[in-house]
Symmetry: C2
Subunit: 477 residues, 2 copies
């Protein structure tokens, strides 16, 4: 063994970061900092593996990742070299060289681990078919990749969404009513900025989607928490001295994070509450594609008898559950009678959705690939869900309880009150298993102790090992 360790690498077998990721990270940092310059030949994988006491496959995986991201190039056998993509000129005397800077860079997101919730399995995404849509736009209408003629978004995409809504969500609207947004948070912001003012109360489900709380706070608005009963979110309190919320954010198709659809009776009560109090409802339909039994549940907005003229519901759709959130595309369905208000607000604050992927997405929907992929994922996720349900019953039935909603991308298990879900999530994380603590989704007491277990991104084998880890953690506390 050489006196000086090769490249000065040191691995930490005690952390939950896989060894290949540690090697990748360490090399990446040295390339960015310039310690390993352009053209530097990385040690042969066999040698580095021997030196570090890991398998050669581990080093090869790290090199492959570096090559995939453009930090290095070459081929196995013929040598792997640092590419010039990481070259950073720091030549001004007043600047500290990057090499000495604290390592607060945002590293690539760690590989998704079970049970990270709400994430599609991007290993199964039809990348070639998706890329072909871009190639087709590039050939046939290159302008569509950079300029748009409408602040509401590409008309082809809006028309494709209209068809999708009619077929899948029972919602019949016109393309004029579709506003393309840069994902859900952008859409929520547009709703809040247009329909509410600082100081106003916004009704939010408790438990619910955490970024919504910080968004409302940052806009100077105040939350009014809606408790959940067996029929979903309860109506806001009415009475003397209680200010009516101007807007309620709901997840009627599948409550986030608990799951379960709001029954028709409660939907109608919300609609008539909104009509009576001149309030608004924003229906966040974030993962309704994934229903594994029975028919799709129609959107709340489709229950409005006069959606266009007097409707109080804005429907919010997302593509994040199919494409991950890197694509940043979602949409808002606006009742006709407030199109002008929304349009003015969009013009005043500017749009945030890029035109670049819109036409390609329209093609992807129109040529059927989008639907084929969703059907395939639904089958796959449905199987994974069954596996997880079985494992939970067999392995954890004595500790946890859960409801089976046959929908969504995660299962919420409840723990007995003596458990501390935050502590359990921490212990599991140390052992390579991500499970979000249910209590952290609550704003008010009592916070139910439980865990969110996402199942979509993981093979039956991965789910099995993760449930084993979870059982050991639960039994150890």
């Amino acid at each position: 063994m050489a006196d000086a360790p090769l490249l000065g690498l040191k691995l930490d077998p005690g952390t939950s970061t896989p060894l290949f990721a540690q090697i990748y990270e360490a090399l990446r940092r040295r390339i960015i900092s310039g310690q390993l310059g352009t053209g530097y030949r990385l040690p042969a994988s066999r040698n580095l593996a021997q030196e570090l006491g890991v398998s050669r496959a581990t080093v090869v995986a790290a090199y492959d990742q570096l090559m995939a991201e453009g930090f290095a190039q070459g081929r196995r056998g013929a040598g792997v070299y640092v590419s010039d993509i990481g070259e950073v000129e720091i030549d001004q005397a007043s600047h500290t060289p990057v090499a000495a800077l604290p390592d607060v860079t945002s590293p690539p997101s760690p590989p998704i681990r079970p049970f990270q919730p709400g994430r599609p399995d991007m290993r199964l995404f039809p990348y070639r078919q998706w890329a072909r849509c871009f190639s087709r736009v590039a050939r046939s209408d290159p302008q569509a990749l950079v300029v748009g003629s409408d602040p509401f978004g590409d008309l082809h995409l809006r028309t494709a969404i209209v068809r999708y809504l009619a077929d899948w969500r029972g919602l019949n609207v016109s393309p004029q009513q579709i506003l393309i947004t840069a994902g859900s948070v952008d859409a929520l912001e547009i709703c809040l900025r247009t329909l509410a003012s600082p100081g106003d109360f916004i009704a939010l489900e408790d438990p619910g989607y955490a970024p919504l709380r910080s968004l409302i706070g940052s806009l100077g608005m105040r939350p009014r928490w809606l408790e959940l009963d067996a029929h979903g979110a309860c109506l806001p309190d009415i009475g003397a001295g209680v200010k009516t919320p101007v807007l309620a954010m709901l997840t009627p198709s599948s409550q986030f994070p608990l799951g379960g659809a709001m029954p028709t009776k409660r939907r109608v009560e919300f609609l008539s509450w909104a009509q009576r109090t001149d309030s608004w409802i924003v229906e966040d339909d974030y993962d309704s594609e994934f229903r594994y039994a029975g028919r799709p549940i129609p959107a709340l907005a489709s229950f409005e008898p006069r959606f266009d003229q007097g409707g109080r519901t804005l429907y919010l759709g997302s593509f994040s559950k199919v494409f991950t959130d890197s694509l940043r595309l979602g949409f808002l369905v606006v009742p006709m009678h407030i199109l002008e208000r929304i349009s003015m607000s969009v013009r005043a604050h500017g749009t945030k959705a890029s035109i670049a992927p819109q036409r390609a997405l329209a093609l992807f929907m129109e040529n059927g690939e989008f639907y084929r992929h969703i059907r395939r994922m639904r089958r796959m996720y449905g199987e994974r869900r069954s596996v997880l349900v079985g494992l939970l019953r067999d392995q954890l039935g004595h500790i946890v309880s859960f409801e089976d909603h046959h929908a969504g991308m995660q299962i919420v298990v409840r723990l007995a009150p003596q458990f501390d879900d935050v502590q359990i999530a921490k212990l599991a994380a140390q052992r390579g298993v991500t499970c979000a603590a249910l209590s952290s989704y609550y704003a008010c007491e009592p916070k139910v102790q439980g865990l969110l277990l996402g199942f979509c991104g993981f093979s039956p084998q991965e789910l099995k090992s993760a449930v084993n880890v979870l059982r050991e953690v639960l039994e150890s506390v």
Copy 2:
């Protein structure tokens, strides 16, 4: 002439909307509403032109626009047919048919008219070269069109931006410090959300960028106006009982909208103000590509002696002046010591920049097309600017005055105080000329009367006609 007018079209010669746009709009509305169904053959352009009493070229222009946007297809001579893209299913009894809905749709942005400021000439954009970058990504790395591994954006793009900043803006930073945003407003929001809180004062130049004011208001923050003197924005007042702004938004390379760069002395004063008061400076470098004489002015951030460890400046770059704002890509350069804060804020609020165009933009920058296009545009816009300066001297020298900054995308002319710039802008708009009223960019009195005349998007001939219209309007009041 037939008894019933062809398609029931009626033109209004009295409005400022060009005739071709009126025809286009009317047909588009009928196609969207379903009045003209899929496959409907539009009347021969010759016949419709005769019927409406317009030139055939006017009808052809309207048909071309419909075909460009996918509402119709075919070729001239062989017939133009309504395409099925506008087909909208409205079959639910509870919905009003689209045909009868009020026409509050957001129409495609009207064609850009002189002197619309701040808009690049997209007729000159290298669409094929841009599309080729997408095709290349689609072929070589299709994953890059949908998934990203870093919430700060694609590393290739961030590295390309680092090179751009070093070469063009005298700013030496590392790719870690670059955060890709969905345009400037997104970047400004991230700065405000991370570094300021509701109730805080934000220093804004007066006159300045209007959307910034509504953004600050919607976040519950309060403006502190910075007057402009001959050296650019003045420092915020200091004194007993005056709360220091936590953040100042500046346009030091080219004051918006007046133009002109902030001299070094004032820059240094601002930097030492920020250091002394622990405040932040956001440097909005919105159009520094377009400087027609002399060397590029270095960024304010490049003056910071310790940008990385203690820097108080965040630099904000935009691609809107090259790609229009449909692409929705900009970036923020973050001093190293607050990377972690910005990163946490981005994770809490979510990102809005789409991954889809990022790798393609990196290629476009790396293969030099980006720089070739900017150089070409700079030459072209420089010529147009000279034409406009000459026209203003010859035609309007007796009414307006202006400073010549040899930079930017518009010229601001000042009017004598007896003029009402809003009224003049209105009169000009009726005659097909868009000029923004300078007074509307001011928050405080005295509001200077003047007009913003954008010159980039218009040929010398277009500029000439528009100056003629403007002279007639000014002489008429």
